[in-house]
C-alpha cells in the first residue's frame, strides 16, 4: 500500500462510496449500514443524496414488503410493481402504495386507477396464478410473501396476443441478535405465447445468508432455470405453472444442500486439508529431517 498522502475524495466520490456501501448491504441490514455510513461520512447532505439513490434500488432488488397504513394488506416493492419511483401497485387489493424508500415504510395508499390495472381477461390468469402461488408459498415457506404482476400485455382483452406475467417470491429471516440473516428471492417470468399455444417459464432464484458473530461469512448463490407447459384455461395454467415452480425450487434447495454436504471432505479440501496425507500432525520437532527430505525430494525431481 502506498504511503503517499491520499487527497481527500471529492463530494461526488464520497456519494458514490456511500451508495456502494448501501447497495451492497446484505438482506435486512441496510439500516445498520446506513447508521455506520452516516458516522463515517460525517456529512448529512452527502449521505442524504446517496441514500435517495441507493435505497430505492436496494428495496426493489430485495423486493421488500411493506404494510399498508390501514393494514388492509401488503405491497411488495419490486421493479415489476413500480408505477413511478415512489408508487407501487398491489394487484391483490388493487391499491397503489406511496412509499418512503429511505425509511422503508408505506406512507399512504390510494385505489389503483384503470390504466394501472390489467384487463379482465389478463386478470383472470393473474388472479388464478396468484391463488395457486399463494397457496404454495404458504406451504413451502414459513414466512414467505409473493405476488403476481402483469409486465407485458396488460391491455390484451382477448386471446390472440401474447402476454407475460411475473411471479415474485421473497422470504427473509432476520435474526440480528443471533448475528444471522438470510434471504430467498425467486423471480419467475411466465410468458404466454398465443400462437404456439404454450407457456414458457423462466426462473431466477437467489439465496443469501450472513453470519457475523466474531467474523463475517456470507453465502451468495444464484440459479436460473427454464421450463414450459401448455396454454390452457387460467386455472389449469395456474396449477401447471405453480407445479413447475414448486418442482424447480425444491430441486434447487436439494442441490444447495448437496453443495454444503460436499464441503467438509471435498470442496474445502481443495483449499486446506484437515490433516496431511500422513494423517498425523506435522512433526515440528523433526524439522531438520524434513528440510533434508525436501532437498532430497527436490533433487530427485519428486516435487511438482
Amino acid at each position: 500500500m502506498s504511503d503517499e498522502e491520499e487527497t481527500q475524495p471529492t463530494d461526488d466520490q464520497k456519494i458514490e462510496i456511500a451508495k456502494w456501501f448501501l447497495l451492497n448491504a446484505p438482506a435486512g441490514e441496510i439500516q445498520y449500514i446506513a447508521k455506520d455510513m452516516k458516522a463515517v461520512l460525517q456529512d448529512e447532505t452527502l449521505y442524504t443524496t446517496a441514500a435517495a439513490v441507493a435505497f430505492p434500488l436496494y428495496n426493489k432488488s430485495h423486493m421488500i414488503c411493506l404494510d399498508f397504513p390501514d393494514r388492509s394488506g401488503e405491497v411488495m416493492v419490486t421493479p415489476f410493481s413500480e408505477i413511478s419511483e415512489n408508487e407501487y401497485l398491489d394487484p391483490r387489493t388493487a391499491q397503489v402504495a406511496v412509499v418512503d424508500h429511505v425509511n422503508q415504510v408505506c406512507r399512504r395508499a390510494r385505489p389503483a386507477n384503470d390504466e394501472e390495472l390489467p384487463t379482465p381477461y389478463i386478470e383472470e390468469y393473474r388472479y388464478a396464478l396468484d391463488i395457486e402461488v399463494t397457496k404454495y408459498v404458504s406451504e413451502a415457506y414459513p414466512k414467505g410473501i409473493c405476488s403476481v404482476y402483469c409486465v407485458n400485455g396488460k391491455d390484451v382483452e382477448e386471446p390472440g396476443l401474447d402476454f407475460e406475467l411475473v411471479v415474485v417470491i421473497s422470504a427473509a429471516r432476520l435474526s440480528p441478535q443471533n448475528f444471522c440473516n438470510g434471504s430467498w428471492r425467486s423471480i419467475w417470468n411466465v410468458e404466454f405465447k398465443d400462437e404456439a399455444q404454450f407457456v414458457e417459464v423462466r426462473g431466477t432464484l437467489q439465496v443469501g445468508a450472513h453470519y457475523f458473530e466474531e467474523g463475517n461469512v456470507q453465502l451468495d448463490a444464484k440459479h436460473e432455470c427454464k421450463d414450459s407447459t401448455m396454454l390452457m384455461s387460467p386455472e389449469d395454467c395456474a396449477h401447471s405453472v405453480t407445479t413447475i415452480i414448486r418442482h424447480h425450487e425444491t430441486e434447487y434447495l436439494n442441490s444447495l444442500q448437496t453443495s454444503y454436504s460436499k464441503l467438509p471432505d471435498a470442496t474445502f479440501k481443495d483449499l486446506r486439508r484437515k490433516l496431511p496425507v500422513t494423517r498425523t500432525l506435522f512433526p515440528w520437532h523433526n524439522t531438520m529431517q524434513f528440510s533434508l527430505r525436501r532437498d532430497i525430494q527436490k533433487s530427485l525431481g519428486l516435487e511438482k
Binding site: 491520499e6 447508521k35 430467498w184 467474523g215 461469512v217 470442496t267 481443495d270 483449499l271 525436501r294
Partner: protein
C-alpha cells in the same frame, strides 16, 4: 472507527478489498488503525534471485519495498532498508523452510512466507503467511472449485519469561472464498473472514519454531473447523429455515452421513 469496523463486518467478504480502499480514502487519519485491524487480501511478488514467490505484508515492508524471505533482499532494491539481526535471520530462514513443507502437507501447493523481527525486551515477533489458490485452474487438485482462495495471517509475539519458558501470543486471521458453478446448482459462493487469538506459556527446550509451529497448526485446524461447521453451518441452517426441505427423512440421513465423515 467503530462504524468503519461495523461496515467491514457487513459488506460481502468478496468486496472487502474495495470496501477497505473506500474507507481509507474517507478516513485517512485512521489509516493505521484500519490497516492493522482489517485484513486485506494477500499479494505476492517474485524473488529475482530464487524465482520463488513471497507474500507481501506490513511486516516485510519498508517504504514502498518488500523484503523477500528467500534472498533477504528488498524488491525494488532499497539502500538502507530494515533487516532482522543475524540471529533472527537464521531463525527466519529455518522457519521459512519448515513452514514451506507444512504448507505443502496441508495445502498441497500454495505460497508461504515467514518474517521475523525484533521486539522489545529480547522478544521477537513472527509473521507466518499462507496464500492458497484452490481454483481448478490453479492449485485445486480435485477440480471442485471454479474459484477458491484461502489466505492466513498469523502474527505471533514471543516474550521470554525466564531461562526455560516463553510466552507466545498468537493472533490469526483467515480469509477464504469458494465458488462452485455447475448446471444443476448454479453459482454457489461462500466467503468469509474470521480472526482469533491464542496465548500460551511454553517451555523452550524444543526451540521457538516448534512451539510457534504447533500453535499455528492447532489454530488453523480450529479455524478450519469453525469456518466449516459453525460459520458455513449457520448459513446452511438459515437457508433451511427460510425454506424447509420437503423431504425431512432424506435430509437427516444425509446429515447423519455428514456427521460420520467430519
Amino acid at each position: 472507527m467503530e462504524a468503519a469496523m461495523g461496515l467491514m463486518r457487513r459488506i460481502p467478504p468478496k468486496h472487502s478489498e474495495a470496501a477497505l480502499s473506500a474507507l481509507l480514502s474517507l478516513l485517512p487519519h485512521h489509516s493505521a488503525d484500519l490497516l492493522s485491524q482489517v485484513d486485506q487480501p494477500l499479494q505476492v511478488l517474485c524473488d529475482v534471485d530464487s524465482g520463488k514467490e513471497f507474500i507481501l505484508c506490513e511486516y516485510n515492508r519498508d517504504a514502498d519495498s518488500y523484503r523477500s524471505p528467500w534472498s533477504n533482499k528488498y524488491h525494488p532494491p532499497l539502500d538502507d532498508g530494515l533487516y532482522p539481526s543475524q540471529e533472527l535471520r537464521k531463525l527466519e530462514m529455518e522457519a521459512n523452510d519448515v513452514f514451506a513443507v507444512y504448507c505443502d502437507q496441508y495445502y498441497e501447493g500454495g505460497t508461504s512466507s515467514v518474517y521475523i523481527w525484533e521486539n522489545e525486551d529480547e522478544g521477537f515477533i513472527g509473521c507466518f503467511l499462507i496464500k492458497k489458490d484452490g481454483s481448478r485452474t490453479a492449485d485445486g487438485r480435485r477440480g471442485y472449485l471454479e474459484e477458491g482462495s484461502w489466505e492466513a495471517i498469523h502474527v505471533i509475539e514471543v516474550v521470554p519469561l525466564d531461562e526455560a519458558t516463553a510466552r507466545y501470543c498468537l493472533t490469526s486471521s483467515v480469509m477464504l472464498s469458494l465458488t462452485t458453478n455447475d448446471d444443476s446448482s448454479g453459482a454457489f459462493n461462500l466467503s468469509g473472514s474470521i480472526r482469533r487469538q491464542m496465548n500460551m506459556d511454553l517451555p523452550v527446550d524444543e526451540g521457538h519454531l516448534c512451539n510457534m509451529g504447533r500453535m499455528i497448526e492447532e489454530m488453523e485446524s480450529k479455524l478450519r473447523y469453525s469456518l466449516d461447521q459453525v460459520y458455513f453451518g449457520k448459513t446452511k441452517e438459515m437457508i433451511c429455515t427460510l425454506r424447509p426441505p420437503s423431504e425431512p427423512v432424506q435430509t437427516s440421513l444425509s446429515e447423519q452421513t455428514n456427521k460420520r465423515h467430519s
